[in-house]
Amino acid sequence: MAYALVAVGYSLVFGILRLINFAHGSIFAFGSYMVFLFYSLGVPMIPAILIALVLSGLLAFGMDKITLEPLRKKNSETITYLITTVGVSFIIQNTLSVQYVFTSERQVFPSTNVFPPISIGNVTIQSSQLIMFVVALILLVILTLVVNKTKMGLAMRATEQNSKAAKLMGVNVNRVIAFTFFMGGASAAIAGALYSGYYQVVYPTMGYLIGLKAFAAAVVGGIGILYGSVVGGLVVGIGECLAAQYIGSNVRDPMAFVILIVILIIKPNGLFGKKGITKV
């Protein structure tokens, strides 16, 4: 289910820009770190998550404004966007590792990789998974509502289908995209907090593998389609469990990619993906 949460973020951005945001995994880690940071500074859990949510959203927003918007102005090739997000991902991920080594937190938590368990009443670890599930559903419903019912959502869908036409109709395309990045970043922060709460760890590269797998999940479900991401997340998650059980625990991690490759070869646009007509 954690995959579904992260996958939604990928899906949002890809849906509009046709761009794989490689920095998404690091923003996920960043969100988790921020929660950890504010929590250890004495901020209660829920406000800490909210602060992290806003900060991650702003981070993603800033990334789009500073690095991607100039590229859009120049009409750059796809690969430049791709490399840029990889670069941003490097920056975030490694800044996290640097900060982690040098800040005083290290003394406060001698076992550096332990995330304090989320304490809502006296619940056990199992319930953190339950929370993850519920939050993912709520988040999905909220995002679906935003995309389908609000004016901003309408602008988002218009931009997705034809950004030039949307621009001519008075849609501020750059603002729409920046807003999408903000939402993607915020959802990544929530996912990060919940993930860390469940596994009780936080480390700079935590976003890498889960980011890749979540992306696989998003593609499996048909990227750009929000409920597809959730189904994709479930398919990948269940596939991993089955593989771990019947083949061996070691095949767990790459299972997402095996599923991905198989699905893409059978259905190049994912399970729920749409196909376009070639125009000449």
């Binding site: 640097v98 890749l212 490759i261 893409l264």
Partner: protein
């Protein structure tokens, strides 16, 4: 300003072109002089890495720079080449030269298989599949312990020999070998680029549909591109394994793929000069900026981002200012027909 820089570039390019054979001979002489130059071990290692990554860059460039297919999983090919070569040598005691060739051929075969999905997937989807491919290769290396030794890696890789003479890092002859391999790869890439094959690749990159309408079998050329790219990368992998005593799965991870990709992008997509420059820059960078400590990688990411913002074509990614080169045959044929060789203005009526 722009005009004058263009003129300098043009003079420089025609100079390089006129003396290309001189440069080639110079390169060969310098290459074979390496073992006698008394370079320090550190420098030998650095130069070897630069040449190796230039070669890896050239391999990936065939795919991205020529055909426009973005692979994020070249570490997978690199690993297959290295492991094939290492395992053939340690387990079956195959001679290095044969093992190297087989490593290339086997990697090319895997490239063929990975090329198949490229027929149905485009753009980002293909990138993700290559990325997944790299992860799957890594998993196989870790899990298939009876063959690959798992996380422990392959150890005791022998050094190549020529008539009983051992090529090692220490005596500098391995550096000679990789410089030669890099040189051959570079020349071969240029030969492919300026031929039917290369034109078909570049046409696919520019406009796949139009390429198909010109009768180019796009499927075949896309797969060929994968095969050639994988072959070059496999050979580079085979070479890599003999520079070390052992190899392990962690030598070939996603970051390796990104490093190779960065060589291509930073140097200049679609060029050979760019691969060498990019490899040199990215290998020297960590050396020069050692004082940055952990910030090094942050700066590295920053470099990529700034590069994309201000010079997306790469450091040396300029377009040739030279006229299209007419071969001797073509010039003769034109002369035989009594037609001028130089471009002619349109006839006005």
């Amino acid at each position: 300003m722009k005009k004058s820089s263009n003129r300098i570039l043009s003079t420089f390019e025609s100079f390089c072109y006129r003396f290309r054979y001189v440069f080639a001979v110079l390169f060969l002489v310098l290459t074979f002089a390496v073992p006698f130059m008394g370079l320090s071990m550190v420098n030998i290692q650095l130069l070897t890495l630069i040449a190796l990554y230039a070669m890896l860059g050239m391999g990936l460039n065939v795919l991205i720079g020529y055909t426009g297919l973005v692979s994020l999983g070249h570490a997978g090919f690199y690993a297959i080449g290295a492991y094939t070569c290492a395992l053939l040598m340690t387990k079956l005691s195959v001679n290095f030269w044969i093992a190297l060739l087989l490593a290339g051929v086997f990697t090319a075969f895997i490239g063929f298989l990975l090329g198949l999905p490229s027929l149905r997937l485009s753009g980002s989807y293909l990138s993700i599949v290559t990325l997944g491919f790299c992860e799957v290769v890594n998993m196989i290396l870790k899990q298939w312990e009876s063959v690959t030794n798992g996380n422990y890696g392959v150890r005791g890789i022998p050094k190549p020999t020529v008539f009983g003479f051992q090529l090692t890092m220490f005596n500098g002859w391995l550096l000679v070998l990789i410089l030669l391999l890099m040189g051959i790869t570079g020349v071969a890439c240029l030969a492919m680029r300026n031929s039917n094959t290369g034109r078909a690749w570049r046409a696919i990159k520019d406009d796949e549909l139009a390429a198909g309408m010109m009768g180019i079998n796009t499927s075949r050329y896309k797969i060929l591109s994968f095969v050639v790219s994988a072959f070059i990368t496999g050979i580079a992998g085979g070479f890599y394994c003999v520079t070390r005593d052992y190899i392990e799965p962690n030598n070939f991870v996603f970051n390796t793929s990104i490093l190779i990709l960065s060589v291509v992008i930073v140097g200049g997509l679609g060029t050979i000069r760019g691969m060498i420059f990019g490899a040199a820059l990215l290998q020297l960078f960590p050396q020069w900026f050692r004082f940055l400590n952990e910030w090094r990688f942050v700066v590295y990411g920053l470099l990529l981002v700034l590069m994309m913002l201000f010079r997306p074509q790469g450091a040396l990614g300029w377009r040739s200012t030279q006229p299209y080169h007419l071969s001797k045959y073509a010039r003769k044929m034109l002369a035989d027909k009594g037609e001028p060789e130089a471009p002619q203005p349109p006839a006005r009526q």
